[in-house]
Symmetry: C2
Subunit: 224 residues, 2 copies
DNA sequence: CGCATGGTTCGATCCTTATCGAAGCATTCC
DNA sequence: GGAATGCTTCGATAAGGATCGAACCATGCG
């Protein structure tokens, strides 16, 4: 018998598939609600709730209650780092679960991150929005500039904050390792992309596939 | 449902207490046999064997067969890094499993590491044995010098290698983070310490407590 | 104040798996 | 060739925990 920190306790928390999926989903940095995480993990709401309380007890998550919504997020960068380390080993020793190929590549280019766009396209977009001063960095937050507000309104994109959810928020991109845009604005932009049929969501995947014309339109509007 | 590397599979391997103890024991970098790991984990040999085959299947361990001994070791530095990351989180979010206090302090000073001495005293001893040229470093191994052989024989300590177990082996100290002496010589030295009643083992603990006179004797013989 | 929605708790079920004793295989020692 | 040692496999047992439906709280909406 050995002593020391209880690594089995922590590892077994990550060792359940449902919980692992939840943690994976939270790796993007965006806090999610219990229902969203239940969906992500493919379990019922009571099951998810049970898992979430275990993760809370284990100190792996933080909880922010906002009205009747409860947002779960990773407790710390240290926890995120641990999950990355485990992911690294899993990748190294795997057989991979996903069939590698076009879908994986498509995911890196553009995918849905909860309700907004992620991937190379999304990261590039955020960069350009800063360049054009439509968005402004403000002490680690993102703010919509007045020119940005009119810009998006002109595009028919609502920029109103709703129910405590911020308009703009940075979200760390899993594949690119840099930030992309979340928040209601991020969600509204994704809505527009889908509504305008610039792109469509792959079935049973997070991948977002642009049509040739759609890509041109997207680049004209957001990457110009 | 999400995709990606199967992190739950890896984490659940570490998530069993017996396996976690084994992995912890292997973190020193020394490969150990199934029996040693069974002892370390506090389970029976069949149970340990079952765990070891699971860890092998998971790609976390390597196996080196030498005659009828089978030495298990960590598969890679990446695996070790993962365990460190998990340990870090466990330490951060813990409550520690060990009650802190005198016993913990005693453990850091001197404790049993399977069949040899570990802790500050053991690390200091190995340093001195090198200084006195009783032991020699030889391409990452430890060798007994001729003067060392006669020295230990004079003390009534057998230095014969038995059944492929090396006389001298370095073992990374958990608390000091430096090497102490394992192998048959390390075991024989611990035997002598106990036989001479210089120290006694704490009940249900790995701590080794020296008597005042015993400490003097130990210092005279090994730390002079 | 009712009603809808988001979450948690409870209870029962079911399945996985950790565990050990006994037996079996392999290797080395005498 | 036995005998001993190191280790694995097999079989049976038991315990933990993941799961879901139903019922139960809490918040927000009309």
């Amino acid at each position: 018998m050995r002593e020391g920190p209880d690594i089995a306790r922590i590892a077994s928390l990550v060792g359940d598939p449902a919980r692992a999926n939840m943690l994976n989903a939270l790796m993007g940095g965006t806090a999610l609600t219990a229902s969203e995480l239940a969906l992500e993990a493919g379990v019922s709401l009571p099951t998810a709730s049970s898992h979430l309380s275990k993760l809370m007890d284990g100190g792996l998550l933080t909880l922010a209650s906002q009205g009747r919504h409860r947002y779960y997020g990773l407790a710390s960068a240290q926890v995120a780092g641990m999950i990355e380390a485990i992911t690294g080993v899993a990748e190294a020793v795997g057989p991979k679960r996903v069939r590698p190929g076009p879908r994986d590549a498509a995911m890196r280019v553009a995918r849905v991150c909860y309700d907004h766009l992620a991937g190379e396209q999304a990261v590039a977009m955020l960069d350009r929005l800063f360049d054009r001063k439509l968005l402004l960095r403000e002490d680690n937050q993102i703010r919509l500039s007045s020119s940005g507000a009119s810009h998006f309104t002109a595009l028919g994109i609502e920029t109103r904050a709703k129910a405590r959810r911020p308009v703009c928020r940075a979200c760390l991109d899993w594949s690119v390792r840099r930030s992309h845009l979340a928040g209601t604005l991020g969600a509204a932009i994704l809505d527009k992309i889908i509504a305008e049929k610039w792109a469509r969501r792959e079935k049973d995947s997070r991948a977002v596939v642009f049509s040739p014309k759609g890509r041109q339109a997207f680049e004209r509007v957001f990457l110009a």
